[in-house]
């Protein structure tokens, strides 16, 4: 039994084609999984999809929006699953890292982006920091492009954000008896696990990000689970706003 999916985004049409047993294309009004673009004020598109009867909503590559808007959206849509496909923080890569992590003693993430892309990059960098630290973070201190955060367990988490002329990347480490190294950019995510016997480079993730996001949405519908995507996005955005501000750039 396949689930109806409404989307106008080419990559999600491909994702539907790549899930021929689980998903089928549907019209806008159908009680379907709706996929909305993350461009501009994407919260309005999410609300419109909810009004149109969406059973679940996928936000494709959301641009940065204010934390309060995300929290309001999460509040207004309680009970309706909203999943987020993040450009530099693939959910499958994050899940794989979370399964590999032991007890990190300190985690650190560095990122770089052009001024226009910086808010979204820093937001996803904070997301990686949250994943590597295995918990939500509180801001303790910050400098110009640097920040010290801590988890509820007191594990320090540091971030370094850099404005550059070209390129965009995120690189992180969880430092402990096992060291996890992640790199994410527009070519994908690479993960290396450093153990006593050497380094293990995890296999590349070959599934398209759109297919991963759509599959998660379908699984959420089936399980009835409540995804924490908007809550995590709000967490990461709030910290990113504080850090981007130190670089003289205004968060949207």
């Amino acid at each position: 039994m396949s689930t109806a999916v409404y989307t106008t985004l080419p990559e999600y049409r491909v994702a539907i084609a790549e899930l021929p047993l689980s998903a089928r294309p549907a019209s806008r009004d159908a009680a379907a999984v709706h996929v909305v673009t993350g461009n501009g004020r994407w919260g309005d598109a999410v609300l419109a999809a909810a009004d149109a009867g969406a059973r679940a909503i996928v936000v494709a590559r959301p641009g940065p929006v204010p934390t309060d808007d995300i929290r309001a959206l999460a509040h207004d849509l309680t009970g309706l699953p909203v999943l987020v496909e993040r450009r530099l923080l693939r959910s499958d890569a994050a899940l794989r890292v979370a399964k590999t992590l032991l007890d990190p003693r300190v985690v650190t993430v560095a990122c770089a982006a052009t001024p226009d892309a910086l808010p979204g990059t820093v937001r996803d960098a904070v997301g990686w920091l949250r994943v590597l630290a295995r918990g939500t973070l509180s801001l303790r201190s910050r400098g110009r492009g640097t920040a010290l955060m801590v988890t509820g367990d007191g594990v320090p988490a540091t971030l370094l954000a850099t404005v550059v002329e070209t390129g965009e990347w995120v690189r992180g480490h969880a430092l402990g008896e096992t060291v996890i190294e992640v790199e994410s950019d527009d070519r994908g995510t690479r993960t290396i696990v450093h153990g006593r016997e050497g380094e293990t480079v995890l296999a590349p993730l070959s599934e398209s990000p759109a297919r991963v996001a759509l599959r998660r949405a379908l699984a959420t519908l089936e399980s009835g689970a409540s995804p924490g995507d908007l809550r995590n996005l709000a967490h990461d955005t709030e910290l990113a706003e504080a850090i981007v501000g130190t670089l003289g750039h205004k968060h949207p």
Partner: protein, 345 residues
Amino acid sequence: MPYGVGVIGAGPGAGALHLPTLARLPEDFLVVHVSDGGSGRAAELAARNGARASAQTADLLADPRVEVVAVCSPPELHAAQILAAVAAGKRAVLCEKPLATTTADAEAVVEACRSAGVALLIGTNHLSDAAWGRAKHHLLVSGGPVRSIAVTVALPPNARYHDVVTETLTPVASRGGPPLQDPEVAASVVGRLIVGLAVHDLPLLRDLAADFEGVDFATAVAPLGFAVAYRASGIPVLLNTVMLSDGADALWRIDIATDSERIEVRFPPAFVHAGSATVRVHASDGRITEYPRDPDDGYLSQWRAFADVLNGRTPVEYDELLADAVFAVELADAAAAAVRRGADS
């Protein structure tokens, strides 16, 4: 004819680091004397090398066969021992990092060596590593201005690497974590780790960001480590270091971000002789360039550089040595103060 080397100190810095390194350079150096505070380890090390042993630095400095002094003692003893070597008329001193633990001591030591014409070199193997020269050259010719620097270090116990370069009758005690919840202890630990461990890389960081401006935050990391952010020459620098009781092979890397590239320098573990660091350049268009590694590690390179100084082929950079030492002390003091401030907030 090799130079006669007197080694002050008989801990791992001598037994697992400098003696195995000098054994690789028999044309240039010969260990003739080892001294320590009477632990007995000096006799053990000296016997292996056919050298004399003594329980007093003064005895080593009085030995006429000692032309070159290698200071491998605890950091707080370095300055006094260098001054004693100068007073004894020795020709040259290679001092393990740090040169001194206070600015006043560093100034006194450098001035004494300069006045007496004593060659001085600090054992900063990362600075001597050929890979660092390649990284700097790359930055000069194509890398553009440096925008930020991150140093990321996770170290298992040193004994793992001692075991591949030496044998010891006196095992090194395993690390116990200090009570970092005490702010004064945490501040002291962070300060000492900066002058004792981060100092490996501070001369390299000074190469790229020389003028210290201040610490943005600092915190201790359990069981033993630190996270520090500082600014120098307008460039943010982030240091994350942790020393562990077990676990993964040593990770020691410097990442430099420029406007269009990320330059990654990965150093081999301490103590081992596994060639130079690796330099990999990640361009924004996806190209990755890796420079060939040099067969010489930084320890060999630094002793070869010392031989060049002794043979008059290169000058001693007294001012740079002093600036490096003062930078380390300033950063350590500022970071310790930031830890105390953080505890107050």
